[in-house]
Symmetry: D2
């Protein structure tokens, strides 16, 4: 992923250095398990990880360029470096393992760490959402369907929906992490030709992983494709929220505004512009992450006990998607932290529909008062159309309608327009959304 | 989905008639709940579903063509039909509801039924896989990585891996079903402007659903996009298995063959051909189902309290994917039921690599016997290359190597080539895969 | 594709009957070419196509269910039906051909016909766009970037852009049609084992096709994947236009409205609503068509001289995408034909930004008058911010600024706000867009 | 794109430095055009590009971090650097332009250069394909459909098909380059509010571009989405070829082998393995490039006169896809250059089907000899099945069949098995494929 969208902690997880360290941890875990039987002294084992300094990293790269095989390059270089002080270790390094045993197990550990960062990002965002939802529990604004005013809603309710979706995504990510927390040492075709299932279980336990029940040369890729969807859905959630802010920031609506730094330039041409560029960026990044997914799914159908076509794909899309999502969560939190809420504009916009947003309430009161549904529907639609054309407030149009007035008193009509009546429902929604 | 890939039980779930029936069940559930308060006699409620016959279905279609609104069309036609005998019901029909309350709740019920069919299809396939895996627990064949012989494997182990993946897919589908088993009656913007959260909970309970914690006009689409992935992964699993059979059926390999009917024609041109067309078809259908997914994810970002852009997408991709997957599972079971296993060919192919598939075992024995790993690697590679070029059996090449023979006796070497030694591991793999 | 989005002319192209007729036309073309050499009397050849009635279609279906091979089923049934009167024809029917020779050639002819319908649909839509663009050449409205008012634009300019994109899509479709207008009779692996390249060229010429230069068993699928993109881009263009209408129809903007029938119901709940449901539907359908594309591209990599995994995919996505696109074009034309343009609202919205949309013009005049660019930028931004906060018209804010007034007279400032000055540019844009 | 798949020449095109240089070239082109009218001396203009050294690049980055706007940052830094010696230039720098005028025009120039590299890569690969195809014009091998032996083919014919597809991709890329070779200076909403269409045309001509007929703030994104497909199809072609090599390298087939360096290690576990890892990698990279496409298409539907959601997507997918494709072409050429062709194995495999691959030839001879087609089909299928089961050569089985022998002499039968008869067709195919 390009630097612009990369944050250091996530980038570090995906560095070559970090991967090599994890690989050595896995080799170490195996050595610990077989040290008794094979006679590898603890002191030698301790020397393994300490070997990996910057000079060695360079040597690994040079070696890989020659041999075309990353794991062999790493192990040769390390073996050469510690051979003198740890001859027994070197003999049993990578004992009975195939490259994928360490690569896939390392991948699991990287994914686990990366997922923890993502979950933490969501939790921070969710916490701001919760606070904002509570603060705006009763900040009324037009609810909109099809981009058209529907019935009133509060900003708190809207944000409670976001909070609930954030929680669902956190749950997804936790499950996704479990899904990929599997390691293997079952060898070249997964048949335990050299190491036993029992040994595998102990090595995995040392690493905090479960052993893959039935592997091929690799951990089956349905796990990774399943995992990936959690990233896609997280990005899509942020996209939905960002899209909403973009809509609400358009010139004519202007109910919300993302933060705009005092030194920031909106446009090279139009000095007055405050554009929702952070949120637009979030939408684009989600588009990007979503696009990767088909490749993750195509990786499932490897040939026989594996082919390596998935490798290049995974080298790109997993770090890229996780780095971009990590960036999105941080940027989304920035947007929420500085979100400007224009309460007056929300009220103005709500009022601009002249009460039409209460039409269904009137419809139901007419039905309760004995009017058949279809009849009531026609009556209300007729009054609504009058308001729509004449700009006369809806309650006036209703009061002027003979059919309505036969069934409802002015007070009955007024009651249909009372937002205070919904306090209880609003509170219950926030409670359901985990905000109250 | 085109007729060719459609089975009747799944198609029925997605028929207009079935959807309309479910919608009326939902309306009925609400009416039951409010009947006391509003005064709708039970006898009237019972008349609701019975109204829907073929004549009415035609009327609904005609009405929708005029009004451009399916739910209103359905309810108008039904209301007209039962008005005389059920005037109170008609008055409170769809009371306080918005179309999406019934459409989304109906969608949940359709998805639930459809998922049950898919799970049943997987369970049947898994059961055949289990039997085949047990039968071929010790049917040895070349394990292959990169399409090249690696170490030996048994067909039972391969199938245990498929069984484990089938089980993962069944788990996914069960979870996916839970994910979409949510209903709503929270109205036009999800703010409970007309009906209470408590009423919603009771209506949903009647239908065996949970109430959506925070809805907009619709159930949030991350649920459906999450659900869809279970279909994609199920299809991808079958694709992986079908791809394997295709590989193993190629002329030069011919270890497995999909069933070929006695009346079947392989090719209009080449009478001798037996092509794995069923499995090729399964691969194509997975490609198709996989492609739909991006649209399911794009549906998440609806505007404000909803726009209706998702509707056309869902009308196509959910029935199409479920119908195609249902067909795939049935066809996959047909393939498994008639699968021809050529045991001799498996053995011939295994023998054709002259023992090279046991090279790592020799490598490890040399290490155990005191040879440094990299040295041992070079020695084994040299012998392997000799076998590769001269077609001399690998154990002969080893016996002829001075370095080897210094460390290993002929008996030691022979032990490296003994498949019987792996019985225990094979049994354990089958146990892990849920087969034993 | 589901009935709801299917128009009859396009559906007919993709019917089994039509495909079978085309296959017989291809067989006929070959028979015509070899009749002299093989001795098939013209009268027999004429009997071929006439054979195909409804009864035979049923028999083909029944036969295919048994043999699992569509082309063989068709030819057997037809051969049986005309055997008595055309024995020589029957002997040489399908002579030297493989199924794909006729299937792929037939597919080319179907695609050609279907593309012609799509091009016609675009041409009708483009014609309405041209008329609307000319009509609204000088209908000013806010140009918007990031959803925020930028500089003024006319509806005519916006529509000229749509017209230009429509023309690009027509060009794409014409090229795409050429790309797939290739036939083949080169046999089972494309090696002309039975018929000659010269004969193939003559048969193709009879059908208005070019011979595929180098085929395998099939026409190479890069042609079809390339073709498919033209459908995706056409759908995406309509989506862009529909998205714009949806934006401009939102309650607060309301500059455009899609047609709303007098009998139409906007919502089951809110009688006053006029929702851009046609345009939302167009956006959803584009999402659907776009999603199919990855499957079209995956079809390229067939095994060796072909496998049949592409077949199921193509049976679904080509008809579905073409039927849906055909529907989209018709619906888009309906939207344009009934498009309501609210000129006053466009003007009101434009005025609502108090002249800020002219800020860059002022900036440039200040530069021309000798102010350094960055200085001018700061001055204009300051005045813009004042207007933004105080709601004082921008030209007043400028007149009140000492730095501005030192450089520009009131008349100079007024000239920056004059829309009439842009007539020439607008006319030129329309000319470039093919509208004038 | 990660370093592993990046080659320097392509990477340079996408560096910040290169982009900034191109932006300054565009600014320069405009200044040249307006210098007479505005009074900017040529000497000042010449100072523009020379300003950009490493120190300035750092300043731009720092400035962008503050202002959040890349173009403004670049121009401010450059302006500050050359203000003293070029005051008139600085005043008219970016005169009348909006950021997208330079960014999109620069993007066109980058895409043009990148496409040239890709075309050159294809031309090199095509040249090797041509040579190989000619060399193996008559190297017979089994043609395979469904992975099963069909009729014979030559490697030359197979490669001629690849060459033809390579040529189609070169044509596509040339057209794609034309499609995106458009620039703009039409300002913030494309309405030429500040600069004239005539000036734009002259500036574009200086840069070797055409002016965009109707732009919004940006060049319409259907151009870029159309362009992108050429990359996807190029990658898919290489994937198809690589897939074929992988198939032909599997242990049981082994007709082709990709190059394997003498120092290369095939596996950390199995020293004898030669895996087609280069080709597997090519398949994975195509999967990756293909996946990006949906995002490119989603970028078309920008809001109004543009939103900036496409920007983050384009910053990643265009460089990444072009860099990966550039790498693929180079690697593909490496594979072709070192491709090992096992002629004996090709012949052995061909012979292994005992002559069944000539079955259709026999079928047609029987028809020519007066046997009805369906009868002949059954007779040939019966003989084929006998051969299939008994391993008796097909021509023997035919000679032993009473029905056959009634119609065909032994010589007639032998003629059906003669590969030399196809020389003319093979030559013609190579000619058609542009190889001869």
């Amino acid at each position: 992923m390009i630097e612009r969208y990369t944050r250091p902690a996530m980038a570090k997880i995906w560095s070559d250095e970090r991967r090599y360290r994890i690989i050595l941890e896995i080799e170490e875990a195996l050595l610990e398990e077989i040290s008794g039987e094979k006679g590898v002294p603890p002191a030698e084992i301790r020397s393994l990880k300490s070997a990996l300094g910057p000079a060695l990293l360079e040597q690994v790269k040079a070696q890989e360029a020659k041999s075309g095989h990353e794991v062999i390059a790493l192990l040769s270089v390390v073996a050469r470096a510690i051979e003198a002080q740890a001859p027994n270790l070197v003999r049993y390094l990578h004992y009975g393992l195939t490259s994928s045993d360490v690569l896939d197990t390392a991948f699991a550990l990287q994914l686990r760490d990366a997922t923890d960062l993502i979950i933490a990002g969501w939790e921070e965002a969710a916490s701001v959402l919760r606070a904002l939802s509570r603060k705006h529990e009763l900040s009324w604004m037009p609810g909109r369907t099809h981009g058209v005013h529907a019935e009133p809603i509060t900003l708190g309710v809207k944000l409670a929906g976001w909070h609930a979706e954030a929680q669902r995504n956190i749950e997804r990510l936790k499950r996704a992490k479990e899904l990929v927390s599997y390691g293997k040492c079952s060898g070249a075709v997964g048949a335990f030709t050299h190491l036993s299932p029992q040994l595998e279980a102990r090595v995995c336990a040392r690493l905090g992983l479960k052993p893959e029940p039935v592997a091929t040369q690799v951990i089956p890729r349905d796990r990774h494709a399943d995992y990936f969807h959690a990233l896609v859905l997280s990005a899509a959630a942020i996209e939905r929220f960002a899209l909403e802010i973009r809509h609400l920031q358009r010139t004519e609506v202007l109910e919300l505004e993302e933060p705009f730094g005092s030194g920031q330039k909106g446009s090279s041409a139009m000095p007055h512009k405050r554009n929702p560029v952070l949120c637009e960026n979030l939408c684009g990044l989600s588009r990007l992450i979503r696009s990767y997914e088909s490749a993750a799914v195509e990786n499932i159908g490897l040939w026989h006990e594996r082919d390596i076509s998935h490798s290049s794909v995974e080298r790109v899309i997993f770090p890229d998607a996780l780095i971009a999502l990590d960036f999105m969560l941080a940027r989304f939190k920035t947007v929420l932290d500085g979100l400007k809420v224009n309460l007056e504009r929300m009220r103005e916009n709500l009022d601009s529909s002249l009460g039409l947003v209460f039409s269904q309430k009137v419809l139901l009161r007419l039905i309760d008062a004995g009017m058949p549904r279809l009849k009531a529907y026609d009556v209300v639609q007729k009054c609504a159309m009058r308001t729509w054309k004449s700009r006369e407030p809806f309650h006036k149009a209703l009061e002027a309608d003979a059919q309505v007035i036969k069934r409802l008193s002015k007070k009955d009509i007024a009651a249909c327009f009372d937002l205070a009546a919904y306090r209880g429902e609003v509170r219950e929604i926030l409670r359901r959304g985990g905000v109250r």
